[in-house]
């Protein structure tokens, strides 16, 4: 497509054409109306003058006879810029006036007519036009009085000229403006298209140019940029996941393979084979768990789990998880407490339970005070309290806070952001079993509900908090709100 072809296909240009047509039509009809009215006015004026004069002259003829009439006509005909006068005998012979010739048959028609004429004293051969009235006087004499139409014609010419020019100017200015606007829009659209093509070619970091005017194109560009931002984040996440899968799934897979190979290579006893097989199953179970957790995180992060949201009490979730993990904590020499207040929440109950369970499992695994750092018998009370884990469900402002607090070594401020990432297992926890996905799942669940996972200091220890807006579920929020109102009324 040529540049011009592209230009005239733009919406801006087409709109310009439409407006151009409308404005030209408007200008033309305005001037047409003006011209027509002017013409009518002039004609009216001529008619009035001619009628008055005809009345006057007929009067003179009635009072002073033919002589008086001829005298009056001759007098008037000699004035500068005089009207047209002609008096004829019943035989049709001209006896007074200033008209040299007329179109044939004019004198025969009583009443108004338009005619070409020539004055008596005129030398040129060009015809003039006049509006004339022919009246019959008594005894067959006819009187013609009329006025030249040159004035009317000139005026009409001026108006027609003005009409032509104004239409021409409207068209030229309109087309110019249209092309200017269209080219501006086209340039910006071309810039956008260029960027999108680059992005489609794989450069996800490209962003559309945003002007400063804040017009509709800028807003569109801003929105598209926000969308690109999100896509890039998702793509990065995906890449990160695949990198991590490559690393953290391949390691246990290699281990599994080595073990099978080793068992196969050396001819061992049945018990040895059995042992190797059992460890293989164990290892693959671990792999499956990791894989499931990854899928779950990916789903939560992509927002697919937004279905299955319902209303429930966060306190029930906290109590349920407490009930489930309390014996486990006790077996591990820790005490699990729960403190709840009724906090209604809209969300995915299963996912929130799992997120909280992960936090509790972490607290049980990593929340023990470091044995070496705790001098034996130094402070029995502190030692006892440091083995406590507290699950809390409460409401603060518009947020539901589900938190798990332990009194272990905690996570240093600098590491907290890092700790939430997938597969990250901080130095201190390397020796413990686990996939390193617990916190990232909790974080993904919080994000899914429009909230966040906060890691704080419990002096000493870690407080991990799922902070979720009370009316959660992005998009479901409104539904829940409207749903809430009649309940309050009832």
């Amino acid at each position: 497509m040529t540049a011009f072809g592209k230009l005239i296909r733009t919406t801006a240009f087409r709109l310009t054409l439409v407006y151009l047509f409308l404005f030209a039509l408007f200008a033309a009809s305005l001037l047409g109306y003006f011209a027509w009215n002017t013409r009518r006015l002039i004609t009216e004026q001529i008619t009035t003058t001619v009628n008055a004069e005809t009345g006057e002259v007929s009067d003179i003829f009635g009072r002073r006879g033919l002589r008086g009439l001829v005298n009056t006509i001759e007098n008037r005909a000699l004035r500068p810029g005089a009207n047209l006068y002609l008096v004829t005998t019943p035989a049709g012979q001209a006896i007074a006036g200033n008209v040299g010739s007329l179109a044939p048959g004019v004198m025969a028609t009583i009443g108004w007519s338009e005619t070409a004429y020539r004055r008596l004293d005129e030398q040129d051969t060009a015809d003039h036009h006049a509006l004339v009235r022919v009246t019959e006087l008594s005894s067959g004499f006819r009187l013609l009085i009329g006025r030249d139409l040159e004035e009317r014609r000139r005026l009409f010419g001026i108006v027609a000229n003005a009409a032509q020019w104004s239409v021409l100017i409207v068209v030229v200015l309109g087309l110019g403006g249209g092309i200017f606007v269209a080219r501006r829009v086209l340039r910006r659209i071309d810039a956008m298209t260029g960027t999108t093509q680059r992005i489609m070619a794989g450069d996800l970091s490209g962003r559309l140019p945003v002007g400063r005017s804040g017009d509709e194109l800028d807003r569109l560009a801003e929105n598209l940029n926000a969308m690109l931002e999100r896509i890039e984040a998702l793509m990065m996440g995906l890449k990160e996941v695949s990198d991590n899968i490559a690393h953290d799934l391949k390691t246990p897979l290699t281990r599994l393979r080595n073990r099978a190979e080793e068992a196969l290579a050396k001819s061992g006893s049945e018990a040895e084979y059995r042992n190797a097989l059992e460890r293989t199953i164990e290892e693959s179970d671990g792999l499956i768990r990791t894989f499931n957790a990854l899928l779950m995180i990916a789903r939560a992060e992509s927002g697919q789990a937004r279905g299955n949201m319902d209303d429930f009490d966060a306190a029930d979730v906290a109590n349920g998880i407490h009930e489930l993990y309390e014996p486990l904590a006790e077996d591990d020499g820790m005490t699990l407490h729960v403190r709840t207040e009724s906090t209604p929440l809209h969300g995915n109950r299963e996912l929130i339970s799992q997120a909280l369970a992960n936090l509790v499992e972490n607290a049980i695994k990593y929340g023990k005070p470091l044995a070496a750092a705790q001098p034996l018998g130094a402070d029995a009370v502190a030692a006892a309290s440091s083995k406590e884990i507290l699950i809390e469900a409460r409401r603060a402002g518009g947020q539901v806070l589900l938190s798990v607090t332990d009194h272990g070594p905690g996570i240093p401020q600098a590491d907290r952001k890092h700790a939430v990432e997938r597969f990250v297992r901080l130095e201190a926890s390397r020796t413990q079993p686990g996939s390193g996905l617990g916190l990232s799942l909790a974080s993904a669940v919080a994000t899914l509900h429009g909230g966040e996972l906060r890691l704080g200091d419990a002096h000493p220890g870690l407080t991990a908090t799922l902070a979720i807006p009370a009316l959660s579920g992005v998009g479901d929020g409104l539904a829940a709100q409207t749903h809430d109102v009649p309940q309050k009324v009832a």
Binding site: N308, L328, E350
Partner: protein, 226 residues
């Protein structure tokens, strides 16, 4: 016990048929959805094991049309889609249980046994008895011999579930699903701890243990040694 396995992957299907036959089931095999529907409709099976993604007709629609025809044979859905909402979809479609792939055969077997029992078994009793252990579901009383046992509410529900399926293996996942109503996979041995608590209450101090650990599978409550 007659079983119909509807699974399109030849290798896993053969493995299942062989494994079920080894534990004494009569297991038939269908390779796609249409064949599966025809067989399930004509044969008298105790349990159907249905893969969710099948050629010709997917597992959920197969169950749907069976149920429409009034066929109430318990159906267990096997699926690579293991998320909570997939499970809910599967159960809504008329499935009786849902097991995400990959699964262990022990887990599948335990679930199939529970399903077959549910289908043919007697109506819900108000009192469960295993040996000298007695659980009254109405008054929430538990007694072993002459000794009255005091159980926490959750321990009661745990024991109730175990006794309802006395003589059958119940897996940890089944317990987590049915007693706690959680469908996620805890990374720790949280269920084992609950079981050992329960065991210390019902078996401690008695000569014959009733609550047995079945290695590689789960737990079983029964009178006598396996």
């Amino acid at each position: 016990m007659r079983l119909l396995i509807i699974e399109d992957d030849r290798e896993s299907a053969d493995y299942l048929v062989k494994a079920f036959r080894e534990v004494g089931y009569v297991a038939d095999l269908a390779g796609d959805g249409e064949e599966g529907l025809a067989l399930a409709d004509s044969g008298d099976y105790d349990v159907l094991v249905i893969d969710r993604m099948l050629p010709k007709r997917d597992g959920l629609s197969l169950i749907g049309s069976l149920r429409e025809k009034g066929n109430r044979t318990p159906a267990l859905i096997l699926s690579a889609l293991g998320q909570v909402d997939d499970r809910i979809k599967g159960l809504r479609a008329g499935g009786d249980d849902y097991l995400p792939k990959p699964y262990s055969f022990a887990e599948l077997l335990a679930r199939v046994e529970v399903l077959s029992r549910r289908h043919g078994g007697p109506a819900e009793e108000t009192t469960y008895r295993v040996g000298d252990l007695e659980l009254d579901r109405l008054s929430h009383r538990v007694a072993r011999g002459k000794d009255e046992l005091t159980l926490q509410p959750r321990e009661f529900r745990l024991l109730e579930y175990l006794m309802k399926h006395a003589g059958q293996v119940v897996t940890r996942t089944m317990l987590l699903e049915n007693v706690w109503d959680y469908h996620f996979d805890p990374q720790t041995n949280v269920i084992d701890v609950h079981i050992s608590r329960l065991r210390s209450k019902i078996d401690k101090g008695f000569e014959r243990p009733l609550l047995h650990t079945i290695r590689g599978a789960g737990y079983m409550i029964r009178d006598g040694i396996r």
